[in-house]
Symmetry: C2
Subunit: 225 residues, 2 copies
Amino acid sequence: MAEPLKKDVPRAERGEGFSKRQCEVLDAALDLLVSGDDRLSMSAIARTANCSKETLYNWFGDSDGVLAAIVRRQASKVRMPADVGEGLDLADLRQRLEVFAIDLLTVLTGDMSVALNRLAIGHAGSAKSTLGSIVLENGRFAMGRRLKPLIEAGQQTGLLSAQDNSETLFRTFFGLVVRDVQIRLLLGDKLPKGRASISAEAAQATSQFIQLYSISTTNARIRAI
Amino acid sequence: MAEPLKKDVPRAERGEGFSKRQCEVLDAALDLLVSGDDRLSMSAIARTANCSKETLYNWFGDSDGVLAAIVRRQASKVRMPADVGEGLDLADLRQRLEVFAIDLLTVLTGDMSVALNRLAIGHAGSAKSTLGSIVLENGRFAMGRRLKPLIEAGQQTGLLSAQDNSETLFRTFFGLVVRDVQIRLLLGDKLPKGRASISAEAAQATSQFIQLYSISTTNARIRAI
DNA sequence: GAATTGCCGTACCGTACGTTACGGTACGGT
DNA sequence: ACCGTACCGTAACGTACGGTACGGCAATTC
């Protein structure tokens, strides 16, 4: 009697790389998820991606493996570590913060972000799923890592207060930028986000953050009072 | 041949009131949801609530009806409209804001809020479910309505800037208070929230909000620059 | 050119769930 | 005493899904 031939490494685990065909399948699955018509199922993925379910299981192990692969695939597509220049002044800082805020709001209000976060949140409740931590790591935490150099540069240059650590500063900035937008979108609130309103909100959040944490002569006077 | 005797109003729709027994069932269902062991099903609800599935269908129509009833039942339990006193000074305002922030963080970090929001978010994607709007209406929007009188009183008293409307002020305060806490909890991040850290964060958020929007002589001087 | 491999398409199995139906019980009204 | 109502417990049905198995086809390898 032959052994079931257990495949130890079913999913493609060479680094984070997926083959070309695998990427096609994962992208099709993501489209299906974003469109949100059907409740994402293995059969539906196989149907729309023109592949067989057996292949899905061979590549990704099981259903959760497919979902995790979708998230990891998407995460691997958004890599942009911004480098901090040398002569950093307040205008530079403000502009970089504002660009970051615009990026953040643009991503968060996108259909893809909403769909992926919904998926991960739905699976975060019922045990043993690592989807939540994957999304967290490549979403919120990646954003923190991306902005942290700028914040710390601002602190070391003396532009930003160094009384709180950079993590605290980032969380405050995050709150000022995101506000209730993400939770409202996740809950299905319409909330038409044009490019204009995103820019406006990003600018306001940046101004507020700088007002809270920048060390100017006027601010120093305030703190001294 | 007898007609199927279609029941036009299956769920208890006298206002928002549920009978005593119905409340027991809904609370049991909520416990089941919060515990998060099983994926909330009609059978599981009937089992733990010691009622029959037929009764569930008679009372609430269908599966979504039960879920909506759970949310509405829970929403009806947290009604606390704070009234704004007369002689409002900055200390009063600060303290009321801080209390509100503590309340908000306490609720949002609770198991029940996380479970209900997860449920609603999970159903917000796939069409025709009103769960999301119900949670939104009784969560985020109810909070806005609750704080708005205080904010507007602060504006009319001249303590808070009236350049932005009260909704904008609330959204900023919401962002400063909640930051990334809710999304991290929804995604399954542990994030041990003691009563102490909640108080600390609420106090910080309140200070920051006041720093941004309070109209004091010092702040007026800043804005003038 | 035969064998192997990788994949598609489809059929199939077991399970879990939503929904309905049925038998039995408790209780208030007449 | 009798009936209607409301409810519980359980069984049953249809469906949808996760997962597996098999046949066929094309490309690659030997």
